[in-house]
Symmetry: C2
Subunit: 465 residues, 2 copies
């Protein structure tokens, strides 16, 4: 409900064609910060959208962030912090006094306030909570009492709930009379005397209905209710599946305790969907703002696991040293069998992990998915085996060698297809995140089996005499 006369087109100098801040703009601002020209800095930054101010701070090198933050103090409000990368935000907040953090948190909806406070050290968190007024403190403390990444953390308590017997006119009068309302809401919840939801009403229906009609006659009785303890990933999938704009959150006794809106869910959808590529590679959260040491700790653990699986493969090769000595060409060719097999396994694994993450792969269609992947693997295997086998046979003028590598390649691609679908499915069955551990097992299988089948066949076929 603002009537500022901002221009319709956002500041075109600040953004490049891809809707992110241009390099020149960032550089200009940082030069002004360095020159100590606080007024010019504020003039540049003030017209930006909170999300762009957050981006500006993120794009600023770590050592210049505090001077920038000092120059634009007051412009970094709750909305800006809510948009900011976790790592960068925590760094800024650590530099603030608990009272300043409390002032920022007080002006936000519960969910955004919680997002800012939940990652603080416990001691700092307590200091901030003490500095809040009792109502805000109670709301935030309650939210913090729910598990991390649950609907209770995600919801805001600010919402509109009205009794069923109210008319549309009653609702309009109530809304026009209330000063202290959640600023943005998209539906009105209808509740019974026990504050349990009985229906929901999109604002557009209210706008189109005469004042005299009762809410009970406008509302839709079927609605998707989110239990307060539900994991945020499941909340995101439900919002996506039922195309929700907002949804009521209920406690264990079915009472309405909060509301989740789609804008709070959108970044979770994106994070959860995007993290598969990172998890599959063992890069953890993979945030480029994460401190180097944290990235190192996550990644090195994974590399050590991979070192272990590589040792298994090396041991298998070691068993065939006699064969390799007789025909050293095998040493040059064996990584092809293992590598291409590894790639085929990764493909199947990526498809399976994604299908599991989007609830497309359930117990009802598991067998079908396995058969499907084996068919694809057979087609791929025959093609690659034919190309590789005939190539090797011709180049080395050795049809038997060509036959051995073709057979090994086909076998390893089929093994890879099976591992690529069975490993994630098994992990999911045991309630482990298939994105986290699948690649270690799949790669170990394709490497070991690739070497074993190829060298084993070479030895058994009499190729090496």
């Amino acid at each position: 409900m603002t009537d500022e006369t901002e221009t319709t087109a956002p500041d075109s100098v600040a953004r490049d064609s891809h809707e992110h801040l241009s390099r020149d703009f960032v550089r200009t601002v940082l030069d002004l910060v360095e020159a100590g020209d606080v007024e010019a800095v504020r003039e540049k930054v003030e017209p930006l959208h909170p999300a762009d101010i957050a981006d500006l701070v993120e794009l600023t090198p770590a050592e210049q962030r505090q001077p920038l933050a000092a120059a634009i103090a007051g412009l970094i409000d709750g909305d800006v912090l809510a948009e900011m990368n976790d790592w960068v935000r925590d760094e800024l907040i650590e530099a603030l006094d608990p009272h300043e953090v409390a002032d920022i948190a007080a002006e936000l909806d519960t969910d955004d306030a919680v997002a800012i406070i939940e990652d603080m050290e416990e001691e700092d968190q307590r200091a901030v909570l003490r500095a809040l007024d009792p109502d805000d403190r109670a709301a935030i403390e309650e939210a913090l009492s729910y598990p991390e990444e649950s609907a209770g953390r995600l919801m805001q308590r600010e919402l509109i709930a009205v009794p069923e017997h109210w008319t549309v006119g009653d609702v309009l009068d109530y809304l026009r009379g209330e000063e202290e309302l959640a600023t943005d809401f998209w539906e009105i919840f209808v509740v019974d005397p026990g504050h349990k939801p009985v229906g929901t009403c999109a604002l557009s229906w209210i706008l189109r209905t005469p004042r005299s009609v009762a809410m009970g006659d406008v509302m839709k009785r079927e609605q998707t209710l989110i239990p307060v303890g539900m994991d945020q990933e499941e909340v995101a999938l439900i919002f996506q599946k039922y195309a929700l704009i907002s949804a009521a959150v209920i406690d264990d006794s079915g009472r309405l305790v909060g509301m989740i809106t789609v804008d709070d869910v959108v970044h979770i959808i994106s994070e959860e969907a995007g993290e598969d590529a990172l998890l599959l590679s063992g890069a953890g959260e993979g945030d480029i703002n994460e401190p180097v040491v944290d990235s190192y700790k996550v990644r090195v653990r994974w590399l050590i696991a991979n070192l272990g699986t590589a040792m298994v493969a090396a041991t298998i090769i070691g068993m065939f040293e006699g064969t390799i000595v007789k025909m050293v060409t095998l040493a040059a060719l064996m990584p092809i069998v293992a590598g291409v097999g590894g790639n085929a396994g990764t493909q199947t694994m990526a498809v399976t992990v994604r299908a599991l993450a989007t609830n497309q792969l359930t117990q009802s269609n598991t067998m079908r998915a396995i058969r499907r992947e084996i068919k694809v693997a057979l087609l791929n295997g025959v093609t690659i085996a034919a190309v590789l086998g005939s190539g090797v046979g011709l180049v080395f003028q050795n049809p038997l060698l060509g036959g051995v590598i073709a057979t090994a390649m086909l076998a390893n691609i089929v093994i890879a297809g099976c591992a690529g679908v069975l490993v994630p499915l098994t992990l999911a069955r045991f309630r482990a995140d298939p994105a986290v551990a699948s690649s270690v097992f799949v790669t170990m299988t394709t490497d070991s089996m690739g070497f074993l089948v190829f060298l084993g066949l070479a030895s058994a076929s009499g190729l090496t005499g």
Copy 2:
């Protein structure tokens, strides 16, 4: 605006705890289909949400889909089709008569109608368009004139736009009087006489404002406008960044031509974020409903590319056959150096691709990101090299061999870190999708360099005499 008396809690038998259809439910329905008990099938399926009916069809094996579709004819309406997986939907639609498709399309918003029609064969598409009434046909033909995956395809033309001088009362009267309105909308656009957007007004603001106030005083003048030709991925990023519920779409002359709502964007956010893992593995769209032959075509191309890079690595090994013959243990150890290096490269690559996709990595912070990855690589490299080098030195009672493999491992992890960040950045600079081709180049680098450095050092160090 429904007043059906459906229960608040959705049919608990149909769904399991994870909000997808239970295996028992799917099996029961399919058994009833097989038994030909159409009435019982419809009784089971009718209470389901359209998204759940879509899921049911997807979870049904291909050969039973047509009998199921026949049994629940009429229940598979536009809303169900709009929720359905592309492959499954196309299969169902192919079995329908153009007039039936036209009937379904006519009841949908433009964006959903376009989604159903755009993938049809051109001839069938023309037949459906002919069967539509002229208004619907014009709207859909216009939408189809915009490039695929652009805002023009995504938008709906149904929206509410009012002049600035109207009062809130005028808007309420207008909305209450109109029969033919977009059923769900979340903001009202204010336009000038040339139909150019001048402001926007969330419905909650209108509800809270007295009838006499002019729209020009309620609306917010700053709004994010989406050009009709903008790529859907960018649309999704903008919705995410500015937490939008809906946004106005404008044509080249700045006139309001449509509206995009967040529920149409949510699945794009999820798809675009989730596809990185699939693209990095070369699995294409990676949809488990894709026909086997299509999956084969996409994946085999990638495997052949990987076969090529594996040949490069094999050639490098071939250059060192003399060295390997002298010390065959090298053949067993060399895949460790290449494999762990490949993993380190994949980690950095996944992080870089994700940062590029979320606009977190821009020209402003490229150099910082590169330095950061090199630091992480050095830490990882030193750790892994120490573990591997001392292990190999001890096991083989050969400190020189330990030193050689440690040095090669450190070098390859640092090379992997550089390749993992530079390859995606270079591809992005040339406007190629970094997720599509990065792994081929990164793997080729880590494999080739791993073998080259390890075998080269082994040869040069005098290890093999």
